[in-house]
């Protein structure tokens, strides 16, 4: 079944299977979240520093907090089935609008990080494995170990101190220069400059992971019979590595990258906080402490969908990387 329709049928089936998974995730999240004590009205009043009882009652009524839990769950599921993500009373805005505003900075940071970390990880892993035990291997391994072990927030702050405060090359934080309000290409360049430090910080950790994974996979493949065969055929080492070993060794890295997508959203909270990058991770974190459950559930929905989509993409990617694997 390696035909186009086979692949298409597979995608449709996988997408249909995802629907009950997502619903289950949402219902579970909903119930778990409501175990947390305190509600959005109390947080808002707490931030205000004072409130009258009438004001608190008004807030609760407006947020729908005066209805029982099961009624709220039913209403939520009903809304979700019609793809209505609801309204954030805290922000006085539809959840969808709030999420869409943050979506593209998140995708930008995640995309750049993914490309950077997977790319660098594959290259470094390959370099290290091709000369096992050499100074190059040792250097790369130490580098990977250090970036894996150092906390993200510390790397971020140190990069700010060095490249922003001391060298004055890059801005400390944010996505754009707010005093200037650039337009057109100047704006693109400005955003790119702001992207450098957060993308590097977030990439380092994942790059280390992929480097180690890639190195191990290449070493494993190098001992396989087909490599010996290729060598016996008289192929050059470079050709063996690039066309045979690489293709096989890359599979675990791609798998891991797919699994890590969820983690990337979570790990980016730290980076978004340190660099004031306006992403979804920070929004989720803040809405948890504000008990803004509609918004939080919306973000959960989006990230669950994202993880499912990415894993589907990874599964499809397998069939291209290794034609022996079938999408069925």
């Amino acid at each position: 079944m390696r035909t186009g329709t086979g692949r298409f049928g597979y995608v449709v089936r996988r997408l249909l299977q995802a629907v009950p998974v997502i619903l289950a995730i949402l219902a579970l999240n909903f119930l778990l979240l409501h175990l947390a004590p305190g509600d959005a009205a109390q947080v808002l009043a707490g931030e205000a520093g004072s409130a009258s009882p009438e004001y608190m009652a008004q807030l609760r009524e407006r947020f729908g907090l005066d209805h029982p839990l099961w009624a709220r769950l039913l209403l939520y599921v009903k809304n979700m089935l019609s793809l209505n993500l609801g309204f954030s009373f805290r922000h006085n805005m539809p959840v969808l609008d709030l999420i869409l505003q943050r979506l593209w900075p998140t995708l930008l940071l995640m995309g750049v990080t993914l490309v950077l970390s997977v790319g660098a990880g594959i290259v470094l892993g390959l370099l290290a494995a091709s000369r096992v035990g050499s100074w190059r291997d040792t250097l790369i391994s130490i580098l990977a170990l250090i970036s894996y072990a150092t906390p993200l927030f510390w790397i971020g702050l140190m990069l700010i101190v060095v490249f922003s405060l001391k060298l004055d090359w890059l801005p400390t934080s944010g996505m754009e220069t707010v005093a200037a309000f650039h337009e057109g290409w100047a704006r693109v360049a400005d955003i790119a400059r702001h992207l450098v430090l957060p993308a590097i910080t977030l990439s380092l950790f994942y790059m280390a992971l992929y480097t180690r994974l890639m190195r191990a996979a290449v070493l494993e493949q190098a001992g396989m019979d087909y490599v010996a065969t290729a060598r016996a055929k008289g192929l050059s080492e470079g050709r063996i590595t690039l066309t045979h070993v690489l293709r096989n060794a890359i599979l675990p890295v791609v798998t891991m990258a797919g699994v890590q997508m969820g983690g990337l959203l979570g790990g980016s909270i730290v980076v978004e906080t340190v660099f004031a990058w306006p992403g979804l991770g920070l929004l989720a974190y803040q809405s948890l402490f504000a008990r803004d459950f509609n918004l939080l559930m919306g973000i959960f929905f989006l990230s669950a969908s994202l993880v499912i989509l990415v894993n589907l993409t990874v599964d499809l990617l397998y069939t291209f990387l290794d034609p022996r694997i079938q999408a069925a």
Binding site: P37, G38, A45, A51, R62, D168, G174, L282, F289
Partner: protein, 533 residues
């Protein structure tokens, strides 16, 4: 460095260009963008629904109040150019400036005042129901006169009319809509010096100069930007690098303030918080042992070294507190230092003696009682403050376990379930004791589910009576007498420990002048801020 120098040259050239532009006499001050760090990012801009600090720091540039205030806490003209209070204190008549327009071009009139107060603030503002409870009607004999009719004299009312506390809103954009769901919450239109342009969530809000502002030639700046940076170390770096120019209310951690202030371009000030007047406290649950005993509460109060807390936890930014009313109210004649003093050198000794008298004897292990001490979840310093209190309590034989929870959980514990023994806390005593202080001590303020009110649940008939009398007493001198007795009685009863008057710090770039010009501080409209040229 070279780059900075080149940039600086460009700036000078650009500024010189600006200075050459023909303008009014104030033309020389014109131009520039002020970037303010606001922490945390506000959820909305509905300052008529919430008194949250970050909301106020931004909206006060758009919405103005009838009055502003000087450093003596006296009202000065805002949107109202003059006012008269009748002899019985029950009629206050405001004359509005002529020619004021909202930034959408519609005129601002007495009808907007009436609508804002009666239809919005009195009904929906967190403190409005208290502030305006005696306002029965507002008469509008003409477009520029608003006459407040009161059921009782309300001396505190005149302190609550700033753009932060009581913003004046455009009636034409609110009338007939659901006030709580109005889109003004995310795109405000006001009479202020700046116009709302855009809000990129998670990043910044942009406000441009309002060219039709009613104060001619102002504001001087072209633009005001509020920036949101969640990490405190990054905020400090942004100020140091000049990417942001001002931050207050704890936006810059105390631990970084001194280092920043040493830089030649940075200035730090504690002025501009005189209408907030926060007090750092320890709140007892006065209905539960061991703190249902007044002597035990007094003992804890004696044991705490105010100086230690100020110097070591708050990096020296504070002043020992004497009681429920902040010494900032001395200029208004409402504060008295002549109360029982717990700030004595041999505090621990006195405390141990009091606890013996209270019958709380040390057990075989030296422990008199075991308690849980809650930490208010508003930042690191509260953690360190809690650890200090834990140590001091150990010295007087009270073994305390610290408990940390997040904001909603903590609020619920202290103000709804009353499931606590001792918590640290801080309260803003605001512009008048009626608004900021009564809520902590009055019987009427024991209200489950309402936050930052009387969570200690101590009250007495006499103190209730004193507060009720001070609420309707128009004569400042007589109010002072009432508050003196109140302070003495409350301090004796010790339902809280008043540790110190917290001082916020505003850190700003010196190239901006006239930034902090009144006790409203960062809640001022910023129409006078200008670049130093």
């Amino acid at each position: 460095m070279i780059l900075t120098r080149i940039l600086r040259c460009c700036l000078v050239v650009a500024l010189a260009g600006l200075a050459l532009m023909p303008d009014t006499a104030s033309g020389q001050k014109r131009g520039g963008t002020l970037v303010m760090l606001v922490q945390p990012e506000p959820p909305t801009l509905a300052s008529y629904l919430s008194t949250s600090g970050p909301i106020g720091q931004v909206t006060t540039k758009v919405y103005e109040g009838l009055l502003e205030y000087d450093f003596n806490l006296k009202p000065i003209p805002g949107l109202a150019q003059s006012w008269t209070v009748s002899g019985d204190g029950k009629t206050i008549s405001f004359k509005l400036h002529k020619g004021i327009k909202f930034s959408d071009g519609k005129p601002f009139t007495s009808a907007d005042v009436k609508f804002s107060v009666l239809e919005v603030l009195k009904k929906f503002h967190p403190r409005g129901a208290i502030t305006f409870r005696d306002v029965v009607d507002i008469e509008t004999p003409d477009e520029h006169t608003a006459v407040f009719k009161l059921a009782n004299p309300a001396p505190y009312l005149m302190m609550a009319l700033s753009g932060y506390e009581s913003p004046m809103l455009p009636k034409h954009l609110f009338e007939g809509t659901d006030i709580k769901n109005n889109k003004q919450a995310n795109s405000p239109v006001g009479t202020g010096p700046y116009k709302f342009v855009e809000w990129q969530r998670g990043q910044f809000m942009r406000f441009d100069r309002n060219p039709d502002y009613w104060k001619k030639g102002r504001p001087y700046l072209d633009r005001f930007v509020a920036r949101f940076v969640a990490d405190s170390a990054t905020r400090t770096a942004a100020i140091e690098k000049g990417e942001a120019h001002v931050g207050g209310f704890g936006a810059i951690p105390y631990s970084d303030v001194k280092a920043l202030a040493r830089l030649p371009q940075i200035e730090a000030t504690t002025r501009g918080y005189e209408m907030q007047s926060p007090i750092v406290q320890l709140d007892f649950n006065t209905t539960r042992p061991p703190f249902d005993n007044q002597k035990v509460r007094q003992a804890v109060s004696y044991a705490i070294s105010r100086k230690f807390v100020i110097d070591n936890v708050w990096f020296g930014f504070g002043k020992p507190a004497t009681g429920p009313i902040n010494s900032n109210f001395a200029v208004a004649g409402l504060y008295t230092p002549s109360v029982k003093s717990y700030n004595v050198p041999n505090g621990v000794e006195v405390a141990n003696k009091l606890l013996d008298e209270a019958g709380l004897r040390r057990g075989p292990n030296g422990i008199r009682a075991e308690i849980v001490h809650d930490i208010t979840p508003y930042g690191e310093e509260w953690q360190r403050y809690g650890e200090y209190v834990q140590q001091v309590l150990a010295e007087i034989g009270i073994k305390a376990t610290l408990r940390h929870e997040d904001v909603p959980t903590w609020l619920r514990r202290i103000y709804t379930d009353y499931d606590f023994q001792l918590t640290n806390n801080w309260i803003q005593t605001l512009a008048d004791p009626v608004i900021g202080v009564h809520r902590l001590y009055h019987t009427n303020s024991i209200r489950p589910g309402v936050v930052f009110v009387n969570g200690s649940r101590w009250a007495s008939p006499r103190t209730d009576q004193l507060m009720d009398m001070a609420t309707v007493e128009p004569d400042p001198a007589k109010r002072g007498v009432l508050y003196k007795e109140l302070q003495q009685l409350v301090v004796e009863a010790a339902p809280l420990v008043w540790v110190h008057e917290l001082q916020f710090v505003t850190v700003y770039n010196k190239q901006f002048k006239d930034l902090i010009v009144s006790p409203l501080g960062l809640y001022a409209p910023f129409d006078r801020v200008h670049l130093d040229k």
